[in-house]
């Protein structure tokens, strides 16, 4: 028993850091209705600034590029400046926290202030862009890790028969003090009450003389300082790691969600709970042999969160979750069969006549199309944000491996795998009948992490990670071939046909009664229910179709790669897929096609270069992040829909009429 208590206590350091991050996430959500996936990345960047400043006395700005457009060398003042020689810890800490406050302010003023009236998804995409940009910038600016000498007292004390590190207890005390301070400020001061008022009703707050914009800016600053504090405190030994520190946003958001995105105290309790539970599970996994093959410490807390969400009626951030925001356009598809037939003919031509590079690019894009369709169906058609498509795809891919090893061969293995994945989609969708908007996004994020940790690390399930041959009725569908015969055309044709058929199915859903009822649910759930639509059933059906598409993509990935890696199906890729689908038009099948075309190593790369590149630009991630941010600001409804709407406007202006109704953005009165 004392052992159990000791390991719970050992988790307070992690829990404290998560608490600070989670409270910061709540603040930005309150301030500007954003679930900021780049929140921990902001803290990570400030952490690098701190440790770099301690060593060099230089302040670094998040500028990753050596050269600006037109070959202009980046001026040194854009990269930073020297402040002090050999700064003390107090000076470094103070300057970094001021820096973090200004950084938070800048992020709000330059990015999220412009997205106040964007769809919630647009803000998610911008925050994913921020994540990518900061992660890439830290990697480029600090290829060697700055020294991170401890700033807290070392040593340990004996509690419950174990040595508990003093610095973890100090971090916990700091987190508790900050939580208590923020609770007092937001409950008893005018500033705090104004923030809450503005978060619940921006218009009402403005009418009473409050300035929601200024309040939002200050809350962003405070949130940024909190994330910087969390990262500086936990990165106390000389190893900063940009990706994993940025990914701390996942458990932090889970804690924020458990705390209802409202109460600082409950959010902090949830965060400490996650940290301590993970610590306990490390202990139990080591002691219980049946647990040793599973990622219990990282996966189980998320499974519990999913369960908790199911039994809670309202845990969501309020605005944006209830359908009062603009929704992405979802035009009715036309000419589906002729376009589909042409696409198949084009695909067959490429597979039979084109170069190896072209065949590979079309295969990559086709799989990307199916993956994006999974997002379009769920998010574009029925308004449910899911961050688990790659987890579903991975489940299908590894199920094929498992079935292969049990003697179930092609094509039965992929058919069963896709069916099981569809069932898993329904299972994950069940909480979706109770939560909406951002809450659902975070819940599915949790589901994705749980699947990664509990399923993809299960040795029995993933086996030797290789798929068997894919032959059926004498036809060989395998991808492997010698030299430029790779990838085999037959495999490519199978992929293209699968992509086109998936598009046709999705288009027919959108055109039919099912699609109409889904759009009604997306627009206003209560109104849809009043019109006789079974909302829960509609959502579950959408989850099933979405998971089915993700499963098909996963099955094709399995046969394309032959050898699978669980690192190919991380939640990070789901975030990227959501972002790119949003940019291309998340409400339409054509948006999914666009997302597939621009996929890395896809058709667009071939059109641009004439061949697939053999070298990687070191700026790739930074540029992608910057592009996501810029496009969401300039074209908040996405790239293709904005271009389409602009074109329609031009045509109708010339004709002197109005754009056709299906191309108008869906708006909800209120």
């Amino acid at each position: 028993m004392t052992d159990l208590l000791a390991y719970l206590l050992l988790g307070v350091g992690s829990g404290a850091a998560l608490a600070l991050l989670a409270i910061g996430a709540v603040l930005t959500n309150r301030a500007s209705n954003v679930v900021n996936f780049g929140h921990a990345a902001m803290g990570m960047w400030s952490g690098y600034v701190f440790y770099n400043f301690r060593e060099t006395g230089d302040i670094a700005f998040p500028m990753p590029f050596d050269r600006l457009p037109f070959g202009i060398a980046t001026p040194s003042w854009l990269q930073g400046f020297h402040v002090l020689d050999r700064p003390t810890v107090a000076a470094a800490l103070t300057i970094t926290l001021i820096y973090a406050a200004l950084f938070g302010l800048a992020v709000y003023m330059l990015i999220f202030r412009w997205l106040r009236n964007s769809p919630p998804l647009g803000r998610i995409v911008a925050s994913v862009g921020l994540f990518l940009y900061l992660y890439a910038t830290a990697s480029l600016r600090f290829p060697t890790v700055p020294a991170t000498r401890p700033i807290l007292p070392g040593g340990s004390i004996d509690m419950f028969g174990k040595l508990i590190f003093v610095d973890r207890l100090v971090v916990a005390a700091i987190a508790i003090a900050i939580t208590a301070g923020l609770w007092i400020v937001y409950r008893f001061t005018r500033f705090g009450l104004s923030t809450i008022a503005a978060s619940e009703s921006p218009k009402g707050a403005a009418l009473t003389g409050l300035n929601p914009d200024r309040l939002a800016a200050i809350n962003w600053s405070i949130a940024s300082v909190l994330s910087a504090t969390a990262i500086i405190l936990i990165a106390r030994v000389n190893s900063l790691d940009p990706l994993n520190l940025s990914l701390l946003i996942v458990p932090a958001l889970a804690a924020a969600l458990l705390g209802g995105f409202r109460s600082f105290v409950w959010v902090a309790v949830a965060a400490f709970g996650i940290g301590m539970l993970q610590s306990e599970l490390v202990n139990l996994r080591s002691d219980i042999s049946a647990f040793q093959g599973l990622g219990l410490p990282e996966g189980l807390p998320f499974l519990l969160i999913l369960g908790a969400l199911f039994f809670r009626s309202r845990t969501a951030p309020a605005r944006g979750a209830d359908g009062t925001q603009r929704l992405p356009a979802s035009p009715t598809p036309r000419g589906v069969i002729p376009i589909g037939a042409l696409a198949i003919l084009g695909g067959v031509f490429v597979m039979l006549r084109a170069s190896s590079d072209w065949r590979l690019a079309v295969i990559t894009s086709s799989i990307g199309v199916i993956m994006s369709l999974s997002i379009v169906v769920l998010t574009g058609f029925i308004g449910q944000i899911s961050l688990a498509p790659y987890a579903f795809a991975g489940f299908a891919a590894f199920t094929i491996v498992r079935l292969d090893q049990s003697g179930v061969a092609f094509p039965w293995a992929p058919i069963i795998a896709v069916t099981l994945t569809t069932g898993l989609g329904v299972l994950v969708g069940i909480p979706g009948t109770r939560v909406r908007g951002y809450s659902l996004a975070i819940a599915t994020l949790g589901a994705a992490v749980a699947i990664e940790q509990l399923v993809f690390k299960w040795s029995w399930f993933i086996g030797d990670r290789t798929v068997g041959p894919s032959t059926f009725l004498g036809l060989d569908f395998t991808i492997q071939a010698k030299g430029s015969a790779y990838p085999r055309g037959v495999f490519g044709i199978m992929v293209v046909v699968a992509a086109v058929l998936s598009c046709v199915v999705a288009a027919n859903i959108r055109r039919g009664r099912t699609g109409q009822s889904w759009l009604a649910v997306r627009t206003n759930e209560r109104a849809a229910a009043a019109a006789g639509i079974n909302v829960a059933r509609a959502k579950l059906a959408a989850f099933a179709v979405s998971a089915c598409f993700a499963g098909i993509a996963g099955a094709l990935i399995a046969y394309e790669r032959q050898t699978l890696s669980e690192q190919s199906f991380l939640v990070f890729f789901s975030l990227a897929a959501l972002a790119i689908t949003y940019l291309m038009g998340i409400g339409s099948v054509s948006g999914a096609v666009g997302a597939g075309i621009v996929a890395p190593l896809g058709i667009l790369v071939m059109l641009r270069n004439g061949s697939l590149p053999t070298e990687v630009s070191k700026y790739e991630f930074a540029l992608n992040g910057l592009m996501l941010i810029l496009v969401t600001i300039v074209l908040p409804n996405g790239l293709l829909p904005s271009i389409g709407a602009g074109f329609k406007r031009l045509v109708s202006r010339r004709r002197g009429g109005l754009p056709s109704p299906e191309h108008q953005v869906h708006r909800v009165p209120g």
């Binding site: 001021i98 490390v282 190593l601």
Partner: protein, 458 residues
């Protein structure tokens, strides 16, 4: 309540207070130089490659400097011979990750380039024909690894020098299909170690764990060991199969502690590993996690002997610790520290070549691996000749038995060194113990015969 205390905390005041606090804290904002605790390692000598670089005269070749000295391939030639630039080149592929925050080691590529430049400039290429490298950069995606493998097949390279690639499994299959060997580098995935056409001069993570287990259980006669490992499939397989299971066979009581890639606070895993006062703790971690594990174990005042994978020996991970926290750490390497034992000029030649052809790249670290792989491939290419094919290279590698390796243990690519991992041609290891920053002594008594230990116990 006084008037001042009831004034509301407005946004302006919040910012003002912050700035005031900042201004106050800036008082005495610079440390005196004496207060520095950073040990830069200056003045400390090292016996590892890169630590004893001797500059080469600007107009002198490296071969003339070491002419006639013993090295892996007999004697260093007396004079430098340049490959004929007009002769048909021998195409060799290089696949590695140069950019990115994870698993990117550009120095591997630089090590290949330095070796190839030296071979072409001074060693006459391959029978007078220059080696032409075809580089394809991999990233974290299997698609890119597959694309690179296919490019190599299209370019008809005779071999691919592998650097580091987390997704190499997907590439190796394509190369196998095309009969192209995958040579050298840092093997991570199973496919890099168990595919028919892979030839590695490293023991990978399995070799490290066998060496740790043998040293702890047989040499030191430890009875209780904790094995900490990164919970990703490739590391876990090595740690469990060649660490935990081998230790158990050797009669050692083992505690297994897995940790996730995203772990930030190692307090819990270190506590679990140190529980019950084990005699030794093995650590199989990604390099960026090394200092966190060292710090946590140091905080716990663990007296256990700590074995860490060689990547953790890099000074950048160790330089900020007080010597008491790192003294006695044991690491695995794949060359002898004692140059007189190897009786070879390989290390000196390597340092000179890196200084001359890649002066901006640290000679200590991953470049040693790629340079070794390139030199060993060059020796095989010399046998098959400039017109040799990929199949000839594979056949020649398979014939090798106790073949001298550049700055490493002689290798045998008969697929039987560790039968479950036939691609490992030289899994033998040396363990070194840290005495002070940058200074090591050999902890093992020369080479640890990993294949024999595996054959006898697993």
């Amino acid at each position: 309540m006084s008037k001042s205390s009831s004034r509301p905390l407005t946004p302006t005041r919040v910012v003002g207070l912050g700035l005031l606090c900042g201004a106050l804290a800036l008082i005495g904002c610079s440390e005196s130089k004496d207060a520095s605790t950073v040990n830069t390692g200056a003045g400390v000598t090292t016996s590892l490659p890169g630590g004893a670089v001797t500059s080469v005269p600007g107009d002198g070749s490296i071969v003339s400097r070491y002419a006639g000295a013993d090295w892996f391939s007999g004697k260093v030639p007396a004079t430098a011979t340049k490959a004929d630039p007009n002769a048909t080149p021998v195409k060799v592929g290089i696949m590695s990750a140069d950019n990115g925050a994870i698993a990117a080691l550009p120095e591997l590529h630089k090590g290949n380039d330095a070796a190839v430049a030296w071979i072409n400039e001074e060693l006459g290429g391959v029978g007078g024909h220059p080696i032409q490298t075809v580089f394809c950069e991999v990233d974290l995606s299997p698609e890119k690894s597959q694309l690179c493998a296919r490019k190599m097949a299209e370019e008809k390279v005779v071999a691919v020098l592998s650097g580091v690639d987390l997704q190499a499994g997907a590439a190796v299959q394509i190369l196998n299909e095309n009969g192209i060997p995958w040579v050298g580098g840092i093997p991570i995935s199973n496919e890099e170690m168990n595919s028919p056409n892979t030839f590695q001069f490293s023991g990978g993570t399995p070799g490290a764990f066998v060496a740790f287990s043998s040293h702890a259980a047989i040499d030191k006669k430890f009875k209780k060991v904790s094995v900490m490992y990164l919970d990703v499939a490739q590391v876990k397989a090595a740690a469990v199969d060649y660490g935990v299971n081998l230790l158990k066979k050797l009669g050692v009581d083992v505690t297994e502690v897995a940790f996730d890639l995203t772990t930030q606070d190692y307090a819990t895993v270190a506590q679990k590993a140190a529980e019950g006062n084990p005699d030794a703790i093995f650590v199989g971690a990604a390099d960026f996690a090394c200092p966190k594990v060292i710090q946590a174990l140091s905080d716990l005042k663990s007296t256990a002997t700590i074995y860490m994978v060689g990547a953790c020996a890099d000074q950048k991970w160790l330089k900020d610790f007080p010597i008491a926290a790192i003294k006695g750490l044991i690491f695995n390497i794949e060359n002898r520290l004692d140059q007189t034992a190897s009786n070879s000029a390989d290390t000196e030649v390597y340092n000179a070549a890196m200084t001359k052809y890649q002066p901006a790249t640290s000679a200590m670290g991953a470049a040693t691996v790629s340079f070794k792989g390139t030199m060993n491939l060059w020796a095989i290419l010399n046998r098959v000749g400039p017109t040799g094919t990929a199949a000839d290279v594979v056949a020649e590698f398979r014939k090798t038995k106790d073949e001298p390796s550049f700055d490493g243990h002689p290798y045998t690519c008969d697929g039987k060194q560790i039968p479950a991992l036939p691609g490992l041609c030289a899994p033998q290891q040396v363990l070194i113990q840290l005495e002070s920053l940058g200074k090591f002594t050999e902890a093992s008594n020369g080479w640890i015969d990993v294949p024999k230990i595996v054959a006898d116990n697993l």
